[in-house]
């Protein structure tokens, strides 16, 4: 895919290319928008990875089984974790990694509708027909600034939640296929002779127009054109190239969903500060325990998540990254006539891990029927906790273009028990 400048052995060639770049640009230098000078605390330099499981994953069959109430268990068994707890036997690898995460068993939501509940989880606000609220990542970019000058600060792997009323400069870079993330966006081999000739032509053809029409709108396009040329030649882009990963390491991720997590880790190493991904298919209203259905999906997720946590620990990234795993709601403890479970919003789980999180804990619990909770945690509370972990004041108000005030977690309460 993208060839690295490292592969050009000839130093002279490399220098010529770099000089050539200057000629290909149109004068001004600039940087990615919204840079904020300096950070006052290391919290604000943290990065976030949010894993979303759309559909409403069954809490009983994942992280909150109730072996004491066998009529609710279906075919699910339990397994002991390395923290002395019990989780579903479909998650044996996570059972060995529970010391790295904090598990919340008392999530609650007002909604049992996929769209409304997910929207609430992602933005902390109720979906309305007349406004789009920004994602957590957009908030982070707005209040914490940008860590990497060249790469996009927010990358979504399939997820569509974006900047809302904050505007397109806070929109995510969307990757649909992690194996081919930059397809259709970046010129391959920009340093080749052919492409250099092309880039020279590009500059020539518009030079007169830029010199004559010095209107502000046009100047902005000149600036971004220069930035794009810089980006195309930037080594940072390699972060998106999974084939550059060391072979042994890459092998670990050669599992279902593995490439999502490998890409996320590479981006973290390149200082991309917010990565959101979705892994779907959890809406099991019927035939939940069919071998090809939930058991397989759960096992795949289990392996992928565990691999990711282990990998982050290995690279020391858990010290500077917060990882969350959420679904929009849980599923009914009572098994339905169609051998599945239906939507259940009064109890479900959430996971938090990484920098500043109290690892190896469980917060909140459900009753023996997995149906009512103690110490309820709303999506707002969850997001308020996450905000605090990354140094954002939950009371800080910003204004939408039509002058309405908003806060990052809409009044949610950060949960101190989850913070180390």
């Amino acid at each position: 895919m993208i060839s690295s400048l490292k592969n050009i052995n000839d130093e002279l060639t490399r220098r010529r290319v770099m000089q050539g770049i200057a000629a290909m640009t149109l004068g001004l230098n600039a940087s990615w928008p919204n840079i904020q000078a300096g950070y006052s605390s290391s919290s604000r330099k943290k990065k976030v990875v949010r894993v979303f499981l759309p559909g409403g994953i069954s809490h009983m069959d994942s992280f909150d089984p109730k072996p004491q109430t066998p009529e609710l268990m279906g075919n699910t068994k339990v397994i002991k974790t390395n923290t002395g707890e019990e989780i579903s036997s479909y998650f044996p690898n996570m059972a060995k990694n529970m010391d790295k995460i904090a598990l919340i068993r008392s999530m609650v939501s007002p909604d049992a509708d996929h769209y409304l509940a997910r929207y609430l989880m992602e933005t902390s606000y109720r979906a309305l027909g007349t406004i789009k609220h920004p994602s957590f990542g957009a908030w982070m970019q707005k209040l914490n600034g940008v860590q990497n000058n060249t790469l996009p600060p927010i990358v979504n792997i399939r997820s569509q939640f974006g900047a809302g009323y904050l505007g397109t400069s806070y929109d995510p870079f969307i990757v649909n296929n992690p194996k081919d993330a930059l397809k259709g966006l970046i010129m391959e081999h920009p340093e080749s002779k052919d492409n250099q000739r092309f880039l020279q032509l590009m500059a020539d053809v518009r030079k007169d127009f830029h010199n004559e029409y010095r209107f502000k709108g046009v100047e902005d396009y000149r600036q971004y054109y220069n930035d794009s040329i810089k980006l195309m030649f930037s080594k940072d882009l390699e972060a998106f190239d999974l084939s550059k990963e060391d072979k042994t390491s890459a092998k670990k991720f050669d599992i279902p969903h593995g490439d999502n997590f490998l890409l996320a880790r590479r981006l973290l190493q390149a200082d991309v500060q917010y990565i959101s991904m979705e892994i779907g298919g959890w809406d099991d209203h019927y035939d939940l325990w069919d071998e090809e259905n939930y058991p397989k999906k759960a096992n795949d997720l289990d392996r992928a998540l565990a691999t990711f946590f282990e990998d982050l620990a290995l690279h020391g990234l858990l010290d500077s990254t917060v990882v969350t795993v959420n679904s929009e709601f849980g599923r009914t403890p009572k098994i339905s006539a169609r051998k599945g479970r239906d939507h259940y919003h009064k109890a479900f789980f959430g996971i938090m891990a990484g920098a500043g999180v109290k690892a190896g804990t469980i917060y909140g619990k459900t009753d023996d029927q997995a149906s009512s909770v103690e110490s309820p945690v709303s999506p707002s509370d969850f997001n308020a906790t996450l905000a605090t972990l990354v140094g954002i004041d939950v009371n800080k108000e910003i204004y939408s273009p039509d002058n309405r005030p908003f806060t990052i977690a809409r009044g949610g309460t950060p949960i101190k028990a989850l913070m180390a």
Binding site: A127, L128, I131, G217
Partner: protein, 661 residues
């Protein structure tokens, strides 16, 4: 009166006396008297402005007017034929002509669908397609503004019976209060939304007034006329049908979709009454008390007649006694065309609002009202005005906040205009792909009736099937297949009657013919034979090109996300836009071998002719000496097809392409 004013008025008077002008959309008298009104008020605004720009020249006019009426650049042929014409009235004639093209319908349908927050078309079994068609048809028929609004607000029934129910269906997940908010915002230019939960912080609307307004729409409910399980069964049977029934398999893809007809339905029950919420905290009403609907806007006649509450509300809103109705839309159209609104923001009217040119703001509304809310007439007036036809001046750049109609703003194309302009380069005149011939609407109406019959017959069968088998059963019920088969026969008969080809186009005597007024000047209409296939290639089933969000290209260029009218229209530059211009499929398609632009260019031999052709097609102007030199130097090194591809991409990447002079 200063010299400029004098000259300007003289020009206008001169045009009037030249005439024999018999405008189709507006009478001679009306047009020029309204134009004079606008231009006189515009001059008043410019009194303390030192420099007023000149009128735009023909070259810039033709590109601009095509973009502003039809949403896309003119083709090479359209540009050159306009420039060659010596007719002194050619600008007015072109405006008339363009208002009658499918391009107008498409461009202004997008305007409406943005305003109504219509979700982008994505699923086949919902209401989007019908709603798009409703808007298209209304604009093609030049239905008046008040008629459209009334139809939208009183819509009900199954989507096959009334395509306008999309107006309500849009908010089926969140409810009619959102529709109420959006309606008041769109058509009355003010925001009740905050008052939904509390008395408005910055303005006078109280929560009680919100509820009194919301009461008009209360009683609307949304239904899906058959369930997911029915869908599954129909799909299983459809697979079987298509395998075994060659007639069904031969139907156009458009028709095949109809075996799974849209399930959407809106009902209205006037007996359902809205109540104040349980946690209502103000003194002016009691929690759980029934809300009496009321027109809270303080203008117009409050006692209005109608059969249902929605009709009462719509009649009041659209009445000529309610001047805001005309003014708000006139202002929206003015902003869309001129780039800056007279009343800004477009939809946040407060009592203390300051309007820069209140006389012009009111006059525009009055003109629209006097023209009986006729869109084509009204637009004709704006486009013929001198205010619209002023150009830009490189030495006279002014900021938006200093804009006083002293010239035109140098704007970038909107995402939709950019999208369609690229498609024009790729396919030539896009109007021939439209489906606005009245025969299409006739055909679709009959298809809808058939579909209703089919639905009524098939649902009882799927329901009883579920009782006997599990939902995932692969069993086939021959009775269901029989209904589907006979339905297929009836559709086939309809398609034959209207000569619909497999791409959904009317095909008369071997050539697909789509009426379009530009065909006499337009060589690209010679490509008729392959039109139908091309249409399938570029749009699939979507007729409104810019309405089809197959990729994020338009989002990247800042098209609205339709969460509210005009929301998040981001016209500023971003890096992603630059990358898209260089690498995206939308741009690379323009340089495909079979693209119209490349084919036409390859017919020319001399380098200078080719470069000339490309500059006219892409920028609407002749290349300068410098431009020729750049080309000569570039092609000296290599002159292959791939070099021409690079050359065209380079031309498209210059802001000269996507800015409008």
């Amino acid at each position: 009166m200063n010299l400029k004013t004098h000259l300007s008025c003289s020009l206008i008077l001169l045009s009037i006396f030249q005439l024999g002008w018999a405008g189709k959309h507006i009478s001679d008298n009306d047009l020029w008297s309204h134009v004079v009104t606008i231009d006189r008020l515009a001059w008043q605004e410019r009194e303390d402005i030192k420099k007023v720009n000149k009128q735009v020249d023909d070259q810039d006019f033709v590109r601009r007017i095509y973009l502003d009426i039809t949403g896309k650049i003119p083709t090479y042929e359209q540009t050159t034929s306009f420039l060659k014409s010596k007719n002194i009235q050619k600008r007015s004639l072109l405006i008339e002509e363009l208002l009658d093209t499918p391009g107008y319908v498409s461009h202004y349908s997008n305007f409406w669908l943005d305003l109504l927050r219509a979700p982008y078309q994505n699923s086949e079994d919902d209401f989007h397609k019908e709603f798009n068609r409703y808007i298209e048809k209304s604009l093609a028929e030049n239905k008046s503004y008040d008629a459209i609004v009334k139809e939208l607000m009183t819509a009900e029934g199954k989507v096959q019976e009334n395509q306008a129910i999309g107006f309500y269906m849009r908010d089926r997940e969140t409810g009619t209060m959102d529709t109420l908010n959006a309606t008041v915002r769109a058509f009355l230019g003010t925001r009740l939304g905050c008052a939904q939960c509390h008395n408005h912080r910055f303005d006078k609307w109280t929560q009680r007034e919100f509820y009194e307004s919301a009461a008009f729409f209360h009683g609307v409910s949304y239904k899906r006329t058959y369930g997911n399980d029915d869908l599954r069964i129909i799909r299983t049977h459809l697979d079987a049908l298509l395998k075994n029934d060659p007639l069904a398999a031969s139907l156009s893809p458009y028709a095949k979709v109809l075996f799974l007809p849209s399930r959407s339905q809106v009902n209205y029950d006037p007996n359902k009454k809205l109540t104040y919420p349980e946690i209502y905290r103000y003194d002016d009403a009691k929690p759980n008390e029934i809300v009496k609907e009321k027109i809270v806007f303080g203008y117009g006649d409050e006692k209005v007649e109608g059969k249902d509450r929605r009709e009462v509300f719509a009649n009041w809103m659209t009445s000529k006694n309610n001047p805001m109705f005309a003014r708000i839309m006139a202002n929206r159209l003015w902003k869309r065309i001129m780039g800056v609104a007279l009343l800004d923001p477009l939809d946040d009217w407060k009592d203390n609002i300051v309007i820069q040119n209140p006389y012009l703001f009111e006059a525009l509304g009055d003109i629209f009202s006097k023209l009986n809310y006729n869109f084509k007439s009204f637009l004709s007036v704006i486009f013929n005005s001198e205010a619209y036809q002023l150009g830009i001046d490189l030495k006279n750049e002014f900021k938006e906040e200093d804009y006083k109609l002293q010239g035109s703003l140098f704007k970038r194309m909107s995402a939709a205009q950019l999208n369609d302009s690229l498609l024009t380069l790729q396919y030539g005149n896009l109007d021939r792909f439209s489906k606005l011939d009245p025969q299409y609407f006739e055909y679709e109406d009959k298809l809808n009736l058939l579909t209703l019959e089919y639905q009524v017959k098939i649902i009882p069968l799927t329901t009883s099937f579920i009782v006997k088998n599990t939902v995932n059963s692969k069993e086939i019920d021959p009775k269901i297949l029989e209904i589907m088969s006979s339905y297929a026969e009836k559709i086939k008969a309809l398609e034959d009657y209207y000569h619909i080809d497999k791409n959904g186009y009317i095909n008369k005597s071997g050539m697909s013919i789509v009426k379009n007024n530009n065909s006499k000047n337009d060589k690209s209409s010679d490509m008729m034979n392959t039109d139908s296939m091309m249409a399938e290639n570029y749009s699939g089933k979507a007729v409104l090109r810019s309405n089809y969000h197959g990729s994020d290209f338009m989002d990247v260029f800042g098209s609205t996300d339709r969460s509210a009218p005009d929301t998040n229209v981001e016209m500023r530059a971003t890096m992603k836009q630059i990358l898209k211009l260089i690498n995206s499929p939308e741009c690379l398609n323009v340089v495909r071998n079979d693209s119209y632009l490349m084919q036409e260019c390859s017919k020319l031999d001399k380098l200078t002719d080719k470069v000339s052709y490309l500059y006219y097609a892409i920028y609407g102007r002749a290349p300068t000496k410098k431009d020729f030199n750049i080309a000569v130097n570039f092609f000296e090194v290599s002159n292959k097809q791939s070099d021409w591809e690079k050359y065209v991409i380079a031309l498209i990447n210059s802001p000269e392409f996507y800015f409008i002079k």
